[in-house]
Amino acid sequence: MSLVLGAFAQVLSIKMVLIMILGSFVGIVFGAIPGLTYSMGIILLLPLTFHLPPLMAVTLLLGVYIGGMTGGSVSSILLGIPGTPSAAATCLDGFPLSKRGMAGKALGTALVSSIFAGLLSVATLMVVAPIVAKFALKFGPAEIFSLVFFGFSTICGISMGNVLKGLISGFIGLLFTTIGIDPVMGMSRYTFGIGQLISGVDLLAFMIGMFAIPQVIKILSIDESLLTRKISARVSTQYPSLAELKRMFGLMVKCAFIGIGIGAIPGTGGPIAAFLGYDQAKRKTRHSEPALEGVAGPESANNGVTGGALIPMLTLGIPGDPATAILLGALLIHGLKPGPMLFTQHADFIYGMYAALIVIHLIVLVMQGFGIQLFVQVLNFRKSYLYTTILVLCTIGSFAVNNNEFDIYVMVFAGFLGYFLMKFGYPVAPTVLALVLGPPMEENFRRALILSQGDFGIFLNSPISWFFYLATIFVLAGQVRRSLLAARGGSVSAGKRA
């Protein structure tokens, strides 16, 4: 109890509240503007946190995460352009409602359902995370390897519906993790005669490149008017009535838990949850007409993901989605290693984070509710100015981590790689997440073999390992089945078009 009170006292200091307001504001802006994502927002703000204490730094980034997830609905509803991929489902009913003069109501419903689901996901995180962390203390190198392997394979599997492409993208990322000093014997590998590569590829510079540069290239090279629809009308948030809330409450709870569950599975994330939420909404309304449920369902689901995705990241060190992968990197930069020991050695930090998550949700509720007109003006801002500035911020961010100019080259290399991956239809997220998961995967794999003196049976001795291998097979088999069904469906549709 004293920890909880202490956490709230810490979080409610003026400095922390200002940090949360800043994070939430940046998050809503990045979420609202099409093409900018909250992952990009987190990564661009990360260099600003280097001089901050760990809790303050993570709070700022969590503000961007939650603000971004919630703010994505603004452009979905008002412009019919999803602000983030997670808000694509919100667009389906939100934009038609907006055209029928119900923009305020749709925005209010999106906001209330987002905050409700977000808070529910935080509550779930607070209950589930300590249990998972306690259980994870029993893990040895073989079990940790099986867990990381599970995380990695699901990340690759659940990516744009094409398992093979996801796996290729993920293994390309793994290949890059082999650059530099090997984690067990300390020998230099794959430096290609470049001295700076001895310490490996800088994770943050690589992430900045992968997430931001392809978007910069893309937006600079398209006609920006295609992403710009001017909103001249005055918009205000209208919250749903009690009767409407009562009608949608069951749906919101259901979709929030769908989001939490999806978020807790490594590599899934908001877009899948949001479409499942939309599906639930349509089942409830039983008609194709746009309805508030079609906004509440996806928004509850995608915000449920936030707390869910933090569970594996904090307890096991496995990111649930790209945003939590960056948060994981941020924790490491601040000397905090996510995993079960984080809960015993830095309990004050964990409780501080819980308190910050709750307060951030309330700040986002107030900020987006009352400041909607400001965010509408932000939508009218020229994309060319934004993306040119982002290019400059990327170079500052990648340089500032180690004060090393070579990291800017790493960022550009990763950016070009990311662009070509996207161009060829390969998901970028598995490559980035593989960079996070690769080192622990190799380290635990080799440590387990050293412990067993080269006996591979160690990987199959523990029921925990078996559980994760079976879960891997189960998830991958499901994805392969979906891929095959989609390929068949795609062929049919392609044939029809021809």
Partner: protein, 181 residues
Amino acid sequence: MKKDRYFSVLVLGLCVFWFLNSRSIPPATMPGAPGPKFFPYLVMGCLAVFAFLQFALSFRHPKETVPPSTSVPIRPFSASEGTGEEEIEEASGGCVDPDDLVPDRRSLIASFLLILFYVVGIDLVGFYPATIPAVFFGLFIAVKGKTPWYRLALPTALITAAIYGVFTLALQVNLPAGKLF
């Protein structure tokens, strides 16, 4: 699909390149334990198998596939066919997916070159001397001739000044100085 075929050949080439660079890595020092080459070999092997599978599948599935990210289809707005003008007219009725928008080839090449020159420029002449022209040409590429070049000077100055204010004056972040000066 041809794209997948080319990409899988590139990935196979990457595996070969990695393999050739593995020869200089020393072997394991502990008997029975895998050495520093083991994990890279494992990754290379798996990647090569996946790339080969992709290569083979590219002959089997010439038809277009649709990613099954959801059971609920997003309301159709395909910008991959037709010109920009048709797209915006169509878009006014439905949802736009930013990922569907087709880039202009000349602007695309210019964007790549801009980033390359910017990075090399930072390395050679330092952060601010490289940033000012990079911002200007970035805006120039983005506006695609719809705004006269002299009207881009003010936003260039404002963006650079804002960055100087935040990072150099307020946060006192060390920025690259450049090798030439």
